[in-house]
């Protein structure tokens, strides 16, 4: 038998090694799908459409939104949305139905990591496309440009990555429904409705009546989009509170996902394999 890295001493090194290999292969795979990724990136321009709608709307001033506020918020929302794209429910359902999950289950690593890392790899591929799109936008409309401070950029990167992880954990939890019903990905479309309206994608949360805003802030959705967007756009936001609530939601969905995984596997029939 060959040398196996001792798990007690090198567990971090081992996980780094696994992460590196999975990331390299998934990055290479995503490069193969680069044309599709450009199209997906282009399809995420809803915040820019919302920006033009809000700019032209008379009511925007009622909420105290000026041109700079709206443009920095919706362009930040565009960036956040690009790097928080999650499609794990669709791919998990497909792997479950086609029996591709079986070989993953027989390897000494939870399949969660494969899906999680493949999403991260895809987001790395998006980086140049998003930059090109932003550059084009600022060239065409220089008044949209704003310059966040370095500390805000760092905090925003952390918040965007956390928002992606939170969204991934939510979708992962609902993916587990595939163990009970073969076609669980329709839940994704159902999740899209609260995501669109409660995350701050269609309208900033400030535009909502207080009760609706309270309801929205009691869900994880604003932390997936509105919170990181506000950090990046340089707007007033309670950063510590935001990170804390985001962390709590991550913990909740991590635990729910683990429980659903445990019980779901009992239902797994290895169909198609």
């Amino acid at each position: 038998m060959g040398r196996i890295l001792p798990s007690s001493v090198n567990s971090i090194k081992r996980y780094f090694y696994i992460f590196r290999s999975l990331f390299i292969s998934q990055y290479a795979l995503m490069i193969e799908y680069r044309a599709e990724i450009v199209l997906w990136a282009l399809s995420g321009i809803l915040p820019l459409i919302m920006l033009t709608i809000w700019k032209e709307a008379d009511i925007s001033k009622e909420f105290g939104f000026n041109h700079k506020w709206l443009s920095s918020y919706f362009i930040s929302a565009f960036i956040v949305r690009q790097f928080t794209a999650v499609w794990v429910m669709v791919i998990f359902e497909k792997d479950n139905i086609e029996g591709k999950l079986s070989p993953y289950l027989l390897q000494p690593i939870n399949p969660f990591w494969r899906y999680y890392i493949s999403h991260i790899a895809e987001q790395f591929i998006r980086i140049p496309f998003v930059f090109i799109m932003l550059l084009l936008l600022f060239v065409l409309e220089p008044s949209f440009f704003w310059s966040p401070s370095l500390i805000r950029i760092i905090l925003a990167i952390i918040a965007i990555f956390s928002a992606f992880t939170l969204r991934f954990l939510i979708h992962w939890f609902f993916s587990m429904l595939c163990f009970w019903t073969d076609r669980a990905s329709s839940i994704e479309r159902l999740l899209m409705i609260p995501y669109l309206f409660l995350s701050g994608l269609v309208a900033p949360l400030e535009a909502f009546p207080p009760v609706i805003r309270f309801v929205a802030l009691s869900t994880p959705f604003p932390y997936i989009l509105s919170f990181p967007s506000k950090i990046l756009s340089g707007q007033d936001v309670n950063i510590i509170n935001g990170y804390l609530v985001m962390f709590i939601w991550m913990l909740i969905f991590l635990l729910l996902g683990r429980v659903a995984w445990k019980f779901g596997l009992r239902k797994y029939s290895g169909m198609g394999a």
Binding site: M1, G2, R3, I4, L5, S7, R14, Y17, I18, R20, S21, L22, I24, S25, A28, L29, E32, Y33, G99, K100, S102, P103, Y104, L105, L106, Q107, P108, I109, R266, Y268, S269, G270, G272, A273
Partner: protein, 326 residues
């Protein structure tokens, strides 16, 4: 010492039944009828370390379900399994590092990337260092006769090349227990032979235990001394392949080459006609009357050449499967 121990293992599935048509769909929506199907029914067996055992049965007999339970993919309904001292369903890391499952009709290689990329991922998942990984890939590639194929995208490989890469990916962590579910499915004869040779060599070199299901008797005959026959989820034979041939074959197989064509109906009185193709006739004749039949054939038919053998294993097994299905 037994490395695989299975006791009174059963697995039942709930299958919902639906009548065709709109009425059937509506009825199914409001009053679903579920039927419990017993895929594996109270089976027990043991497998020694280093053995190659053939698991044979018709489609839906319970072979793949048993393999899935043995490697821990699905939960048994009842009974117990021990593989290398582990309960498979717990899927402990040490257990997973010791087994592999190869499915002929499924693949684990990443379709759009060269096979080498999948091998690197697998090696890292199993905690194999880069040096060991490269050594193993070189060794297994030589055994499987793989060269540049590893650098080509998987989608560009032929079925045979892909299967060899699949085997390499499944064995890079050098498991000592191999669960092989129809590993030669769809392969041409040369690829089948190469895969069989490789499995034999791997078994010899690493003293691995192999549990193989296959519909190709060539796989079974060339690899397995012992076979387990399963039908409707129940084992009805567990023993040596050679013993099966002797025990269950009450007939002999006569191959006849004729000097001129004869009406095939005339052979009916000598035994069961298996094949009749102008100058070539194959008969299945009861052993008890073999002598007299041979005598009669030689006297009454224009025979150029004649050969007596045990009937092919395929026929014995097919006959057995038919008899237990009745």
């Amino acid at each position: 010492m037994a490395i695989v121990r299975v006791e009174r293992l059963s697995k039942s599935y709930l299958i919902s039944e639906k009548q065709p048509g709109l009425a059937g769909s509506l009825k199914h929506l409001f009053a679903r009828t579920n039927t419990s199907v017993r895929a594996v029914d109270n089976i027990s067996f043991e497998i020694e370390a280093g053995e190659i055992v053939g698991f044979i049965g018709s489609n839906g007999a319970g072979k793949t379900t048993t393999l899935k339970m043995l490697c821990g993919l699905i939960h048994p309904t009842s009974g117990s399994i021990s593989v290398s001292g582990y309960k498979p369903i717990h899927r402990k890391t040490a257990f997973l590092k010791n087994i592999t499952l190869v499915m002929g009709q499924k693949q684990q290689l990443i379709w759009d990337l060269p096979a080498l990329d999948s091998l690197h991922v697998n090696a890292s998942v199993y905690g194999i260092s880069d040096t060991d990984r490269d050594e193993r890939i070189e060794e297994l590639s030589a055994m499987l006769d793989l060269k540049d194929e590893l650098n080509r995208p998987v989608r560009k490989l032929s079925l045979g090349e892909r299967m060899k890469c699949e085997l390499l990916a499944s064995l890079i962590h050098r498991p000592s227990i191999l669960f092989l579910d129809e590993p030669t499915l769809g392969l041409d004869i040369n690829a089948q032979i190469r895969v069989r040779e490789f499995l034999r060599e791997y078994n010899k070199k690493y003293r691995s235990t192999v549990i193989l299901t296959s519909h190709y008797m060539g796989d079974i005959k060339s690899l397995c001394k012992r076979i387990i026959l399963i039908n409707n989820g129940r084992i009805f034979y567990d023993g040596l392949l050679a013993t099966l041939t002797k025990t269950y074959s009450s007939s002999s197989f006569i191959s006849i080459e004729l000097t001129k064509a004869v009406n095939p109906v005339l052979f009916k009185e000598f035994g069961e006609i298996i094949e009749c193709d102008e100058l070539l006739v194959r008969l299945l004749v009861p052993r008890s009357s073999l002598k007299e039949t041979l005598f009669k054939l030689l006297n009454q038919m224009p025979i150029k050449d004649l050969e007596v053998n045990d009937p092919p294993t395929e026929q014995i097994i097919a006959k057995l499967l038919r008899s237990v299905s009745l």
